[in-house]
Symmetry: C2
Subunit: 265 residues, 2 copies
């Protein structure tokens, strides 16, 4: 059996999850930690790349032994994995759940839904405890502006071709995705959160949606323009890409057939 | 007129507020930023020291011009001070309020009350977004355990000699302080917060109170023992000192006669 891990990480110090030869990746740090914790070389496969500076609270990754040595078996109880790895992981990466999965489970394929949260802050003074963890907006968002964002957002819910909300130059040919849920609200802590769940995401999709909806908020576009942007299937029609630092991968849901039950003693 | 600033800072990277020749202090960073923002040398005087790693959301400090040059006057509108300083401050220090005060105002004296929050986390898995911002407990705190902490806490409210809750070796001779409020509760985010307000605090007082009350929580001491510890006036009678990273200076209140009204446009 392989181990499926649920991971939280502060992406500020990383080039992203995936190793790309342009900086330290979460994947390489996790691979080294797994090798030390389990006592033999392991491979780590993630549920997605993520850009430099993007964070995660529920990233999923599979740890598998490298090679077929009889003694290279993952036998640690899943509930104790977070503690085994904590010794070898830096403070900005933590395992918060684990379970066994068969060798044919791949964390990137057959995902039922992924959920992201994009965090924005509109208080005037900076907050040192939110540095790198939120998009600091230059202008406040009134309740009416947040209503405008939600009005624009409703055009994106459902099954659509999201080419307009995909970074230019992406090699994806089928840009059809189903957005299950998309709403914007202000939390008790004053942070404005955009919540989005879909069966999959295109490159920069959440960040382009967020950037476009803030332009709707501030009156640079009308809520109904979002329908036209979507129909246009052209990246140039949408708004700016919101910065990486506000984006959090919250949750990945796999088909119930896999029987995934997160354990964390 | 001098400028009174209200400051938030993440203390992880600092030796404390006050310059002590053992690392970078918030005071020296703020002094350099004020000099650049206002165009002439300034002094910065804080409302308290604070230990290495301790944080603040409402620290108060006075900025005063050094020397008497006619052109060395603080004329920037207080509401704009946070923006003027933001250009020269790192991400982990931010001004979130300012107002003018007369030259005889000293931020350390005549304080009506100071409020601290001590943050504890008892979830089993680590949280990368709370690293350095909370005391990660080894064992969970049940509601009954938090009740025990509050039961013990009630003996500390009021005017008492807090010698037992002062770091050994402190040179303070009068350890009498009045605690206005002290309670422990779990917030919506799962973090357990100890809230304490007093007319003043002894060295390590909040951290020793916190450490002692967690021992009460876990049954190593009884709630009523807190009364005996207090009466004993002996540091050795109290519990361990909780780590610096969970401590936040939240608020400083000055007499209303000063007419302090925080501005932050």
């Amino acid at each position: 059996m392989n181990l499926l891990l649920r991971i939280a990480y502060n992406g500020a110090a990383y080039c992203g999850f995936q190793s790309q030869n342009n900086g330290r990746s979460v994947q390489e740090v996790l691979t080294a930690a797994a090798g030390k914790a389990f006592g033999f070389p392991c491979s780590v496969t993630g549920c997605s790349r993520t850009d430099a500076g993007v964070h995660a609270r529920g990233f999923c990754a599979v740890v598998a032994p490298v090679g077929n040595g009889e003694d290279h078996r993952l036998t640690v109880p899943p509930g104790k994995v977070h503690r085994a790895l904590a010794k070898y992981l830096p403070d900005d990466i933590a395992v918060n759940g684990a379970c066994f999965v068969p060798a044919d489970f791949h964390p990137r394929y057959g995902v039922v839904s992924k959920e992201y949260v994009y965090r924005m802050r509109d208080a005037r003074a900076r907050d040192p405890f939110q540095a790198g963890l939120v998009w600091q907006l230059k202008k406040p968002l009134s309740p009416a502006m947040i209503d405008r964002m939600n009005e624009g957002a409703k055009y994106l819910v459902g099954k659509h071709d999201f080419s307009a909300f995909m970074a230019a130059g992406s090699k994806i040919t089928d840009a059809t995705r189903t957005v299950y849920e998309l709403y914007i609200c202000r939390g008790a802590d004053g942070i404005i959160e955009l919540h989005i769940a879909a069966d999959g995401f295109l490159y920069n999709m959440v960040r382009i949606i967020t950037g476009t909806l803030t332009e709707v908020a501030y009156g640079d576009r009308e809520p109904a323009d979002v329908a036209d942007i979507l129909a246009g299937r052209n990246r140039a029609g949408a708004g700016k890409t919101a910065p990486a630092e506000g984006l959090f991968l919250e949750k990945v849901t796999y088909p119930s057939e896999w029987g995934i039950e997160w354990q964390c003693d």
